[in-house]
Symmetry: C2
Subunit: 611 residues, 2 copies
């Protein structure tokens, strides 16, 4: 009898036997060859680098090796060594960022922001004279007078904390200062740093993408992604909000891990681009309203239950240091305004970068994720909604689902009536599990091959379909263990198919409701923007086959990658785009699906597959 | 053999005999009839209310009564009971604010600000609907949409801390919000409070004057003053800066006592005007650069030594809560920009309220205090300097000097060749000491009567002049003890006269240097503005007699009271005046007297009295 061991933040669920160590149970995950997790000594209990944290459930008591290598503090916080801790029951395990290796990176590309840089922060070089009896002016007095005389700037303010950070008596060296609006926010000796940069963040429920941008040229200097460290406290927004509402300590924790994760991402980006942290002059953060509120620590009681009302959708400006971001001293984090419900600044940024707000005719825009936001635009009139598509496309709630990391099956072709199967894995290694685009392909392929009927039922008479007595569910064997060389089969279960049906029904129903509100038919849609990492990697034919996306000619579709991240970069670079984003947020009409019987009706009828 | 016991913050020095209690030594000061200090039980060791703190020196060890009434914590911090602690040597004693009674109030009047109110903070009433499934909008979403639709406001920001302070789910009641620039800073149910008010503060080295102002009508609702609680750490700016430079703990302490004092003053004003603290929407603070820096905790190493360079003279805006001021949640404290040296925002405010910047012809403006700032204006061209006139006019460094509180001799007439003397005391009680205007009158009168010669020497042959062997100085008996009913004579010593000579020479020399720089003669001055509490109460004839003020017809003089406080109120009330203040600060030319040999020359020649 096996136990389920869940790994966060990679999202993998495995079945383990009592008596196995975590590392034995997780098989390939700790294999230094396939990447994934640190285990430099190969699991011999020598290096202590395979630290993981027990979040739920229990293991065998810590042994001597663990006591020696981890120490009391780590042990008291639930840390264990994956090569030593023995499984005694079902458990949830968090793999801390330092244990995850570099290869666990997420894809973060997006359309290139094409704006004329006009950032809110500007730098000025100021020549200085030495303060003396004959020239009794401090650095800041010289700065003020230079800016007034040479740039006509007056009414400047200064963050008093910055005054104390710069030597009062200047040597003859010039200094460079940064001004944001009318406030001086940064200062350093001229020539000691290279460029003013900004941080753009797409704060997703599952993934956080960060971009380091040159504020002068607009070039992206580094891009990187991490998994949202809040995942250990819930996979979707509702469960995370529920956790935050458990108490102040819980809310404090979930906010802290997110802020710490953001700061780690910032540091990694600066490191990659060889930029000093003090050169990061502004941050722009986009995210759904739940991520936005949890980052800021705003009240979420209204957001956690229908009709899902955010406390605030106004733009928020906060000193980056108050969020724990190690940037320029006076740097500000600007949170792009939200619309309503869970429709946040990420949706606004997606619309901005794909220019949906100025498109003529009928445009549909979908940002597919754990929450999927949809906008329908008709000559600039926009109406948006959000639907809980769930984390199935992230690989969660799927028997052998996993995120799009090394070892995940990402492409599937079903041939020969469901008897032959072709697949690719990310990184080309042996299949460990299956990620969103792979599941979508598999379900679509099996439906086309007749192995799944229009209600989503597996044909139990098919030779590759078997009944798993333990799980009490039918399952289709995608990759038998003898083929992959692994010790278990990769399967798709009846329950997995149901999860995909729920997800795709939510997206399709949301689309239908929007079209209905606007009095339009599916055929009227002239252009469909599909955004998000999954949206970019999915095979459109598969998505159309199962009815997730409308059945329209492929040339009307455009897969735009991380459009929210691209929008965040535009808002970072240009004050004009920032004002435009604020206007878009105000102009969008919001539709709360929870209030609409049409949604439930469409949702039920969209559960099946199209004929 | 007596010891000197110094009392702060009242500034009184008394001579005490060993074996006396503090209360006995301080005689009238603890008399409940004459006001001053709490001693409800009359010094019987019953009430424990005459708590004072030993700052320097030592007393007898605490007795049983003190141990019982004070407790260990108080004793360890140096607190003693004035009726129990016995004098054993010279000492410095601080009278904490709670021991000082209400009658120790300072004069705070000033010219009435006459501006059209146009404050930086504005209030709006917002009607609200209940959030529901059919109306899924939070308070802040409704606020944003109402302000955009009804007032055309967009691009508003919100202090995220404020979001959490207002219930997310609104009932049907309207709310009122405050907007400062583009930021929402305050919110409360409409009708629950009365008026938007602001705090104007004149932060002096010795005194702090506070004004609570109705931001709509411009009316001053309450005015009050306290002694600057930093006095225990030094009487003039230089000694206070030196204390701050002793170490972080010292700097922290001197900043903290000032912030706590300001908050006490704010609370007292709100109490007097029956205003809730959350209605105080903005603070404007003016002060010399030392007070400014010590309040904000800015670096002061450059300011503490020649050429006395402030770290920053730019306007500073800081959340009032960061200064420990209990105002509206998002309220801002605006510190009026400074000029240079010790010439701070108080000087700018003084010029603004007395309209020196727009006066035609030649105007001289003096704000007399522990530091005296002087401005010379010629058709709007302004040049300013600051001179260390010392705290003699505040009653300090004067044998029996004291501040202008109850029991201080404030007016003196010397008649009959120095044999007859007429005087008034503040409050009409028996003379305890002598304050600035009294000393000025006395010295001028004695000079006119020939008891003091042009070098400032007392005529030792005069019957009321005696030699005090203990102090080794000549002294003139102003009020013999048998006349006042007190147990000691009130005297003016040769050293007191020297202190006055130093103070008036600094002011006169500063004036001369400014006139010299502008190529003007004393006679060219068409109008002299004399500001400050002492400047308002001094007798002009006396100041002219001793050569402190120029010998010009009295009708050219104008005594304007607390002009800095009046200016602070104008800057609080009007955005136009605020911009004007920033322009004045930029336009003033600053003269550093420390760099000028002319100043030393004038200073020496001004030590004597005019023929």
């Amino acid at each position: 009898m096996g136990f389920i061991i869940e790994f966060e933040p990679v999202g993998l669920r495995i079945e383990a036997e009592p008596g196995q160590t975590i590392m034995q149970a997780a098989r390939g995950m700790f294999n230094p060859e396939s990447g994934g997790v640190s285990a430099p000594c190969g699991g011999k209990g020598l290096c202590g680098r395979c630290r993981v944290r027990l979040v739920e459930g229990q293991f065998s008591p810590p042994n001597e090796t663990e006591k020696r290598l981890l120490g009391e503090k780590d042990l008291s916080e639930g840390y264990r060594l994956a090569c030593q801790a023995v499984i005694t029951g079902p458990a949830k395990v968090e793999i801390p960022p330092e244990t995850l290796t570099g290869r666990q990176k997420l894809q973060v590309e997006g359309t290139k922001a094409t704006v004329v840089p006009d950032p809110v922060v500007k730098r000025y070089n100021i020549p200085l004279k030495t303060t003396s009896v004959d020239y009794p002016y401090s650095i800041w007095q010289q700065v003020e007078s230079f800016l007034f005389q040479n740039h006509g700037l007056s009414g400047l303010r200064i963050d008093p904390g910055l005054v104390g950070r710069v030597e009062v008596l200047a040597k003859d060296n010039p200094i460079t200062i940064s001004i944001r609006g009318s406030e001086i926010t940064n200062a350093f000796p001229t020539g000691s740093r290279r460029k003013a940069v900004g941080l753009a963040v797409d704060l997703g429920t599952t993934k956080i993408a960060g971009f380091l941008v040159d504020l002068e040229t607009g070039a992206t200097l580094a891009a990187d992604g991490i998994l949202n460290p809040q995942i250990s406290y819930g996979e979707d927004v509702i469960s995370r909000l529920a956790y935050a509402l458990e108490g102040e300590a819980q809310y404090g924790r979930i906010t802290r891990v997110l802020r710490e994760g953001l700061d780690r991402l910032l540091r990694a980006l600066c490191n990659a681009a060889d930029v000093v942290l003090e050169d990061v002059e502004e941050a722009v953060i986009v995210g759904n309203t739940a991520m936005h509120h949890l980052l800021l620590g705003l009240p979420v009681d209204q957001l956690a239950r229908a009709p899902y009302v955010p406390a605030v959708t106004l733009p928020v400006e906060i000193k980056a240091r108050e969020l724990g971001l190690s940037m320029a001293f006076g740097a500000v984090a600007y949170l792009v305004p939200a619309v309503a419900g869970f429709v946040g600044g990420d949706h606004v940024a997606m619309i901005l970068s794909s220019r949906i707000h100025e498109a003529r005719g009928v445009t549909l825009g979908l940002d597919i994720g754990t929450n999927t936001e949809i906008v329908l635009a008709l000559d600039g009139e926009m109406i948006s909604c959000s639907c809980a598509s769930g984390p199935a496309f992230e690989g969660a709630h799927i028997q052998q689902g996993m995120r799009a990391v090394d070892g995940a099956i990402s492409r599937v072709e079903v041939g020969d009536g469901g008897f032959k199967l072709y697949y690719d894995t990310i990184g080309g290694s042996s299949p460990v599990g299956i990620c969103g685009s792979g599941i979508l392909d598999a379900v679509a392929g099996l439906y086309r091959a007749g192995v799944i009927n229009y209600n989503g039922r597996l044909d139990t008479g098919h030779p590759r379909v078997r009944f798993n007595g333990e799980r009490k569910t039918a399952e289709y064997v995608l990759v038998p263990s003898e083929e992959s060389g692994s010790d278990r089969d990769v399967v798709i279960t009846q329950k997995d198919i149901s999860e995909i049906q729920l997800a795709k029904a939510a997206i399709a129903a949301g689309t239908k409701v929007l079209l209905g509100k606007a009095g339009l038919k599916v055929e009227d849609v002239e252009r469909i923007i599909v955004a998000g990492a999954f949206g970019t990697h999915l095979r459109l034919e598969s998505a159309i086959t199962i009815g997730m996306l409308p059945n329209l000619p492929l040339e009307r579709f455009q897969q735009v990658g991380n459009a929210a991240g691209a929008g965040a970069r535009m808002i970072l670079l240009s004050q004009t785009e920032r004002r435009l984003a604020e206007k878009i947020a105000r102009d969008i009409k919001y539709l709360e699906l929870a209030a609409m019987p049409e949604f439930s009706n469409h949702f039920l009828s969209e559960m099946g597959f199209p004929e």
